[in-house]
């Protein structure tokens, strides 16, 4: 790089973004390692070593968050990939109602999570909700979607999928649409059917789209907070508490050191899971 172009493309351009990013994202992230080892009220702090971490891992009302968060992230991620792929394939084909279907699948993405949470909590009401009324109409008894500790987490996860599948669909759709027509022509000459088209062309060649969906959905699931908070506040009991909602509860309770320890655990967890996953997935990508 010449001196002239170094001057033209000066790093001064990075300064505004870099300053904001450093002050309000990087700096707090670095500080969190220290503050997670303190008892802290924003003004005074007392260094207590790993005590907060020990508390977080040993107390069952806190460590239940690990299990719940993993289940939530894996379930939402798998369902978004499966439904997103199916819808993507469907919406890439020449349907008369394609425009309508695309809009209707995508629009929940634009709604606020809180609004979606409120709407679905009322629809999932055990006796009055329209979901259980519909189930009763065919002679079955619907479960207490949000009140039963064994299924509440999955109920919230389903709503998350309802809201987020549009995004997954759009990404798959773009991946499938970018596959050159020649591949399909070659398949036709070789005499493959619709299923071959899906299995041997669409699936492998929309690989990078699938990777994007997996990464986005998985990280999104691990960081999830607002939908759970709007629908169950972590209850009943702690059955739907995610790490992010536990952090909020500790923050509300004034346990800032403990909340920050939760934060450090969350972002170490996200990094330890997401970075290797990203590396693993992108290594297997096929170029068109």
């Amino acid at each position: 790089m010449t001196k002239a172009s170094r001057k033209l493309y000066t790093y001064a351009f990075l300064l505004p973004a870099g300053l904001i990013y450093f002050m309000l994202f990087l700096l707090p992230t670095i500080m969190s390692f220290f503050f997670s080892m303190t008892r802290w009220d924003l003004v005074d702090w007392e260094f207590i070593g790993f005590e907060n971490y020990v508390t977080f891992f040993s107390e069952s009302s806190l460590n239940i968050g690990f299990r719940n968060t993993i289940i939530y992230a894996v379930v939402t991620c798998i369902l978004k990939v499966v439904f997103g792929l199916l819808l993507g394939v469907l919406l890439a084909s020449k349907l008369k109602t394609r425009g309508y279907l695309r809009s209707v699948v995508f629009f929940p993405t634009l709604l606020s999570t809180i609004a979606v949470g409120i709407a679905f909590s009322s629809m999932m009401h055990p006796s009055q909700g329209i979901i259980n009324k519909a189930i009763a109409a065919i002679g079955l008894a619907g479960p207490d979607w949000l009140g039963d500790t064994s299924i509440a987490l999955l109920s919230v996860a389903l709503v998350d999928v309802w809201k987020g599948v549009g995004m997954a669909t759009v990404i798959f759709l773009a991946g499938i649409m970018s596959i050159p027509e020649e591949y399909y022509e070659a398949l036709q000459i070789d005499g493959g059917n619709g299923f071959d088209k899906f299995l041997h062309i669409m699936l492998p060649l929309s690989r990078s789209a699938m990777n994007s969906v997996i990464i986005l959905a998985f990280i999104g699931g691990l960081r999830s907070f607002d939908l759970v908070w709007a629908m169950t506040k972590g209850g009943p009991g702690f059955s739907t508490d995610l790490i992010a909602s536990i952090i909020y509860k500790q923050y509300q309770g004034g346990f800032y050191g403990l909340a920050t320890a939760g934060n450090v655990i969350l972002f170490l967890g996200v990094s330890l899971l997401a970075f290797p996953l990203y590396k693993f997935l992108t290594k297997r990508e096929v170029d068109l």
Binding site: L8, Y21, T29, F107, S112, I130, K133, S271
Partner: protein, 276 residues
């Protein structure tokens, strides 16, 4: 002919499913926001016997001295200011990061990628905001929204810069432009397609944001749309009609944006998501 029939049945099934899964919830919220209190308490899809639509919506808008209107105002200002700052700082950053590669590049790229994955450290961020006297202020929440969107928008800009030839920069330099003037006069206008993507995506994201205002913009006067809606769930726990009226009201801006930019959102989002 047989193939045509199968296709017709499959398409009808898809439309029917889409109505059950996506349209009915919408209809449910909308129709119940039109009912009176007793009828909405049934949480049913029945057609209302009376339509106190105006009363419901007026009551929501005037509740607590027009808190919803204040929230609309605050959320609009926050969204608007965040987007302006975001466009300027991320366009600048994306431009230089694409044009220049040296020993720092991979570090900077790593830091940007980290911002996409790692959740923000909540209480330390409050601590930083508080020590620069921006906690609970409009400026503070705007800077937070910007800081947490910088990674994504910078990646979008950096990706788009590839399509702008370097000859443009060089021609401008020959004409005697300084690097900043050159950027703002020549490059920024050329980035318009990706700028509109950033505008739409950030507008929806920041307007719908619940978590950041919850942590970094608390206080009675600092009402934002999503926080107000959340607080209404306990206030209106027996008046579903009013709660749903609020849900409908706050969903209007994103849906309008969607109708105007329908094609652009989908294409822009996919371009960013697949490349990023």
């Amino acid at each position: 002919m047989k193939k045509g029939v199968t296709k017709f049945i499959a398409e009808s099934a898809a439309v029917l499913l889409s109505i059950v899964i996506f349209i009915i919830p919408l209809y449910f919220v909308l129709i119940n926001s039109f009912k009176n209190r007793t009828e909405s308490a049934e949480l049913s899809l029945n057609w209302p016997t009376s339509f106190p639509i105006w009363d419901n919506y007026k009551e929501v808008l005037t509740a607590q001295d027009g808190l919803v209107l204040l929230a609309f105002f605050n959320s609009t200002v926050i969204t608007f200011l965040s987007i302006i700052v975001l466009i300027i700082v991320c366009a600048m950053a994306g431009y230089v990061l694409q044009r220049r590669t040296d020993k720092w590049s991979s570090w900077i790229n790593f830091l940007i990628l980290a911002g996409l994955m790692i959740p923000p450290a909540i209480v330390p961020t409050i601590w930083v905001l508080d020590s620069i006297h921006l906690f609970k202020t409009m400026t503070g929440i705007v800077l937070i929204e910007v800081a947490l969107s910088i990674s994504f928008s910078t990646i979008l800009y950096k990706g788009f810069m590839v399509t702008i030839p370097r000859e443009i920069d060089e021609a401008a330099v020959v004409d005697g432009c300084g690097s900043f003037r050159m950027f703002f006069q020549m490059i920024l206008p050329l980035l318009m397609p990706v700028t509109s993507t950033v505008i739409v995506l950030s507008a929806v994201g920041i307007y719908n944001d619940f978590v950041n205002p919850l942590y970094f913009f608390p206080g009675a006067k600092n009402a934002t749309i999503q926080l107000t809606l959340y607080n209404f769930t306990s206030m209106y726990n027996t008046s579903w009609n009013l709660l749903f009226a609020d849900v409908v009201l706050i969903s209007i801006p994103p849906l309008l944006l969607f109708m105007i930019f329908n094609k652009k959102i989908v294409s822009g989002m996919t371009a960013g998501a697949v490349k990023g």
